[in-house]
C-alpha cells in the first residue's frame, strides 16, 4: 500500500472522527491531514509553508464547506500542475443530481454518498481507501 498521506477535507467534527475511526478500523494507516474548511485545504495543498512536499495520495472531499466550498477546491486542485492528477473522491451527504454532475464536470474521480449507518459508512471508507491506495495504480512520479 502506498504510504502517501490522505487529505480529508471535512468541516463536521463528528464526520472527521467517524472517518478517522473507519480508516483505523480497516487498517488504513496512511498519515492523514484534516482540513476543516476549503481555505485550509487550499493552504495545505498549495501554501509553501504548509504544503506537504510529497503531496497527498488521495483527497477525500466534502462539498458543503465553510469559506471556499468543495467544488471550488476541486476546481483549484484540477487547475494546478502539482495536484491535477491526484485522485479526488467526493464524500458527501448529498445525492442531488446537480452535485454529482458538477463534481464529475470539475474532475472528481469518484462520488460517494456517506451512509448514515456506521457499518455501511465504514465499509464505504474501506472500499474507497483500498481501491485508491492499494488496487489502483497511481500516476508515476
Amino acid at each position: 500500500m502506498t504510504s502517501r498521506p490522505i487529505l480529508l477535507v471535512e468541516d463536521n467534527p463528528d464526520d472527521v472522527a467517524l472517518t478517522l475511526r473507519a480508516l483505523k478500523k480497516n487498517n488504513i494507516l496512511n498519515p492523514i491531514s484534516v482540513a476543516t474548511d476549503g481555505a485550509e485545504a487550499l493552504k495545505i495543498l498549495f501554501d509553501a509553508d504548509h504544503a506537504d512536499p510529497t503531496g497527498p495520495g488521495l483527497i477525500l472531499l466534502d462539498l458543503k464547506l465553510p469559506k471556499v466550498d468543495g467544488l471550488e477546491v476541486l476546481h483549484r486542485i484540477r487547475g494546478d500542475e502539482r495536484t491535477k492528477l491526484v485522485p479526488v473522491v467526493v464524500l458527501t451527504s448529498s445525492k442531488l443530481e446537480e452535485d454529482i454532475l458538477s463534481s464529475y464536470r470539475n474532475g472528481a474521480n469518484a462520488y460517494v454518498r456517506k451512509p448514515v449507518n456506521f457499518a455501511e459508512f465504514a465499509e464505504a471508507i474501506k472500499t474507497v481507501g483500498l481501491f485508491w491506495l492499494l488496487l489502483n495504480e497511481p500516476v508515476p512520479d
Binding site: D14, D15, L18, K64, S93, S94, K114
Partner: protein, 369 residues
Amino acid sequence: MSRDRASARLFSAIVNSSDDAIVGESLDGMITSWNPAAEGMYGYAAAEIIGRPATVLCAPCGEGEGRETLARIGRGEHVPHYETYRRRKDGTDFPASVTVSPIRDEAGRLIGASSITRDVTEQAHARTAAEVLHRADDLRRANGSLESFTYSVSHDLRAPLRAMSGFSTALLEEYGDVLGEDGRGYAGRIVAASEHMAALIDNLLRLSRLSRTEMHLDPVDLGAESAQIAAELQDADPGRLTRFTIQRPVQVQADRALMRMVMHNLLGNAWKFTSGRDDALIEFGTTPAGDAPVCYYVRDNGAGFDPAYSHKLFSPFQRLHAASEFPGTGIGLAIVQLIVERHGGRVWAEGAVGSGATFYFTLDEEEST
C-alpha cells in the same frame, strides 16, 4: 325644427354605427330599442327582441342587477359603469362592461333607460393571461426555495444522524462490555432510530422530487408490471405461501416509472399486511366505476384497517399499524396518491380490521380512453 331633425339623424347615425350595443328599455324593464351592434353581440334581431324583458340578456349571475340599476336610475342616482356577464341568444355568456343612463321626456320626466354594453372578452383574457404569468412567477420562486430546502434536508439533516449512529456503534464496539446488556440495547435503539429517520428523510425527498419530475406518457400494461413486482416479492421471501391473481393485460396511457412505483407500493403493502396469513391472496384487476371509464384495484385479505381512519391513509407519515407489527415509514400511500393525481385520477380505499383492504384508483378521469 330642422335643427332638431338634423340632430336626431346625427344621433341615430351614432347609435347605428356604434361598436357597442346600445339598448333602450322602458321603466318596467321592456326593451324599446336595439342597435345593429346589439344584434351582432347578442344574436337577436331587433324585431324578435323589442318588447321582451331586458332580463333575458342577463347571465344568471347578473340577474336582478338590471332591475336594481333601473330602480337606482329612477331615484335619480348616478350609476357608474360596471362589469358583469351577459347572455347571448345561443345561451353562451360573455363578460361585459355596462353604462346605464336615464332617458327623460321633454318635461324632464324619467321614461326609461339606455344601456351601452361593451363585450370585454378580450380584455378579460388578457387579464387572465397576466394573472397566469404572475402565478407562474410565484411558483418559480416557490420552487427555488423548495430546491434549497431540499438541499439542506438531504445534506444537513443526515449529518447528525450519521453521528448518532456512528458514535452509538463506537460505544457498542469499544465499550460494549462496560455498558451491560441493557446499555447495549439502548445504544442499539439509537442506531435503529437514526437509520429510520434517515429513511424518512429519503422518502420525503423522493416525495418532493416526484411532484416536480416531468411525466412521459407511454402505453403501459399494469398487469404485466404487477406480475413482475409479484415475482420480485416472492423471490425476496420464497418461504411465503401467497397466491396472486393478476388480470392481464391492463393497458393504460401513463408514465411507466411512476406507475411502477404505484403498483410497487400497493402490492408491497398488500404483501406486507398479509404476512400473518397462510392463505394470503392478493389481487390486481379492473372494475367499472361510477364516473370514471375504468377503475383499477389491488385487494388483499390481510390485516385491513379501521375504516374510521381511512381518510388518514394517504397523508405522509400517517401509519395505522404499530411499527413493531408492520414496519414502514408511512410514505408509500402518499406517493401513490401524488402519482395518481398527477395522472388526473383519484385513489381511495375500503377495508375493515382483520378482513383485508382494497385500494382503488382511476387515471385520467377527464379523458375517457
